[in-house]
Every structure is written in C-alpha cells, then in structure tokens.
C-alpha cells in the first residue's frame, strides 16, 4: 500500500481518518452531484418532451370527445 | 453625434480621474501599512496598549516551550520574529501543528507582567510541504529562518 505498511494503516490514516476520509467523501459527493444532476435533468427533459407530445394528442382527443358528446346532446 | 461623443468623453474622463484618485489612495494606504496581527517587534515598540485584546503572530522560539512543570494543561513559550521575544502563556489543548520553530497566531492580551495571556492558540503552517526524509537535507542547507 505505497507509503503505508498495511491496509488498516491506510484506513486509519495515521490517526487522521476522520478528517481525511470525510474530506474525500465530501469531495466525492461533489463529483457525483455534478455528474448525476445533469444526467437526471437530461432524462427528465426527454421524458417531459415525450409526455408533452402525448398530452397534446390527448388534449385534441378529449376536445373532440367533448364536442361530440355535446353535439350528441344537442341533436 | 457630436453630443453623444462629448457625453461619453465626460463620463470616461470622470471615471479615469476617479480611478487615478483611487489608485493614489490605495498606494498611500499600502504605504501606511494595514496590519491585522502584530509582530513581537511591533508589540515591543508599544504600538499596542496593555490590557487591550489583540492578535500576535510569530514563531515559537526553539527551546522555549515549557509545559511539564506547569499546572494542568498550561504551556508557556516565547513568540519571536527573530528580533524580539514575547513570553506567551496559554491554558488548553494545542493544535497538532504547534511546534517549536513553527508559526503561531495567538489571541489575547498583555498582562501587567508583560506576559501575553492567550485565549486561543492557532498554528500557522508555512509554505513548505515535504516528506520527513527531506527535512534533514533541508535543515543542513539552512533554507529557513531558524529561530
């Protein structure tokens, strides 16, 4: 393990484990967030766009149905 | 057309003159020196009245650190800037980096005996990072001010 005698040594970081590992954990979190968030946003965007198309189709259908129903009532 | 250019010139010259004044003032300020913590020399020259809270910054003089023979967790050492030494007394836990020959910043006041009673001790790291084995070489070359 490079400059460490053992893996346990590496984990304990010469007694500074809390500091070193929490700093690295936060850093990893920052990296993760910066990748995860745009990727999720991208997914959401595609989902929304597809849903928007569906909704538009549905909107047209509902309008048609509603109008047919009304015309049916009128006659 | 002409008026537009004239207006712009007025504003530009206003800004230029202003910036010049600002630069002059900044240079003057830097000349006067604006310090936030005081070196032992400044303290010795009486720039800080006694009884007043302030911050002192310097090096821990080699060989000046006493702790074992004192009560509890009290420590005493000399803060120095290679010219003047100021005795410092502190009770509490010291940071890791607090070593003889290293930088230190202390909050506190000068008591009646001329001792700086610190309420907080902070260790100041220098600009050098090196593995332990290079230190010997370094000390031999006398690269740092060794107080």
């Amino acid at each position: 393990m490079g400059s460490f005698a053992s893996f346990a040594d590496f984990i304990s970081m010469g007694g500074y484990a809390v500091y070193v590992w929490s700093a690295y954990a936060f850093f990893a979190l920052v990296l993760l967030v910066n990748i995860w968030q745009p990727l999720m946003a991208r997914k959401k965007y595609f989902r929304q766009q597809l849903k928007r198309e569906q909704v538009q189709a549905e909107r047209a259908r509902a309008q048609q149905e509603h109008e047919e129903m009304r015309n049916g009532n009128a006659t | 057309m002409a008026t537009q250019r004239k207006q712009r010139m007025t504003i530009v010259s206003f800004i230029v003159v202003g910036s010049a004044i600002a630069v002059g003032l900044v240079l003057f300020a830097l000349n006067e020196g604006i310090n936030v913590f005081y070196t032992p020399s400044e303290v010795a020259q009486g720039e800080v009245p006694s009884g007043q809270n302030f911050r002192i910054g310097g090096m821990v003089k080699s060989g000046s650190l006493r702790s074992g023979e004192l009560q509890g967790t009290e420590v005493q050492f000399m803060a120095t800037d290679c010219l003047v030494d100021i005795p410092v007394s502190y009770t509490g836990v010291l940071p890791d980096l607090f070593r003889e020959g290293q930088g230190v910043v202390a909050d506190g006041y000068i008591d009646g005996n001329g001792v700086f009673q610190a309420s907080q001790i902070l260790a100041k790291h220098d600009e050098n990072y090196m593995p332990a084995e290079s230190v010997a070489a370094m000390e031999a070359s006398g690269a740092t001010c060794d107080p």
Binding site: V55, Q56, E58, R59, A60, A62, Q63, H66 | -
Partner: protein, 210 residues
C-alpha cells in the same frame, strides 16, 4: 334571497350611491351597470361582506346579514377582478384547495370541471404557463364545482374570447334557470334569453346630484 334597503356609500368624500334598494329572488340575473369608478366593484364587495363602509341594511333570507354570516358564506360564490389563482400551482391543485376551503368533497369532478371550460389536458401545468384567458377559465371552473345558489361575479368576461363569452353567458343563464341567482357586472352588453334586471349606478349618481 339577498335584499338591500337604503344603501348609502361614499368613498373619498364622493357619494357612490344613495337610497339604493333591491331584492333578488331565485332565478334572477342582476346586472350592475355604470362607468369606470362608479362603484360597481364596491357594491359587490359590500354585498359579499368584504367591505363594511356603508350605511343601510342588507338582509339574507329575511335576516340581517351580519347575523347569518356563516350560512350566507356557505351559499355564496364570489369572483372578483383578480382570478384568485396561485400561479405556481397547477389548475388541479388550485381547485382542490378551493374545494377544501368550501368544504366540498368533489376532488373527482375537478378534471371534468376543467374540461367543461376547455382546459383539456392542462390540469397539471403550473398556472403561470397558461395565458390570461386560460387562467380566467380555471377561475371560472370553480363555478362548476361550487354548490352555492348565489353567484356574485365581477367582470367575469374579461380575457375571454367570443366563444368563451357566449358559453359563460349560457352557463350563467342555466344557473338562474335552475333556481340560482346571479349578480354580475360587465362592460359588454349581455346577450341572454332570460330577462336581466339592471341597476345603473350612473343613473343613481345623477339622481343624487340632482
């Protein structure tokens, strides 16, 4: 239903109306007329109990209004100049809160109410994405959900296009036909089959001046 006797109101030292009196009945449609600033909105708000700077009597089913306020509010639907639509919420959420605030248990009918105002598929879009006319429609969709017999609506036709105006007129009329009462103001001329009773505040004002 709602009756008014000897109503007097002044605002900023200007008399808006004096000796105003009328009595609505089930099936009535009342239109309050008058030029800008003549006090139409003020009158409607007085009738609702939102404004109490008046003198005179207002009674509800024969009882003084302030004694039967809770009952009156249960029977009243009021719609003011502003649409009372929160722009960050969706139409569905807006109407759901409306139902809750009126003690109605009609969350299932919300979609239908929106559809009947031609808001097909708009129920889950935040309202700020809707045009002014569509927002007005969301606001009006509440009429469908409300069970109140008395409707007091202030310029309900603003921001609606021609077709919307016609539909809303028909809807108001059908409410009156079913035994409800409508009190409204509008600057455009109504086009209804049933008789519309009018109160002209301008005429009242000239009467005052005379």
């Amino acid at each position: 239903m709602l009756g008014v006797k000897d109503l007097y109101c002044e605002r900023d030292d200007r008399v808006l109306f004096r000796n105003l009196g009328f009595e609505t009945a089930a099936g009535d449609i009342w239109q309050i007329q008058g030029s800008n600033g003549s006090g139409k909105t003020t009158l409607l708000r007085i009738l609702c109990g939102l404004n109490d700077e008046y003198q005179g009597e207002i009674h509800w089913n024969g009882q003084a209004l302030h004694k039967v306020r809770a009952d009156f509010h249960r029977q009243l639907f009021y719609l003011g100049h502003a649409p009372a639509i929160n722009k960050t919420l969706t139409p569905r959420e807006n109407l759901r809160w409306f139902c809750a605030s009126r003690g109605l248990d009609k969350t299932d009918e919300i979609k239908q109410a929106l559809n009947s105002f031609k808001l097909y598929g708009y129920d889950d879009l935040p309202c700020y994405q809707l045009s002014a006319g569509q927002q007005r429609r969301v606001s009006l969709a509440r009429l469908k959900l409300s069970a109140a017999p008395l409707w007091i609506v202030d310029e309900p036709f603003t921001a609606l296009d021609k077709a919307g105006v016609a539909e809303l007129e028909a809807f108001l009329e059908s409410h009156a036909d079913n035994g409800g009462t409508v009190i409204l103001t509008t600057h455009h001329s109504l086009n209804m089959k049933s008789p519309v009773k009018t109160i002209d505040l301008d005429a009242l004002a000239t009467q005052v001046a005379a």
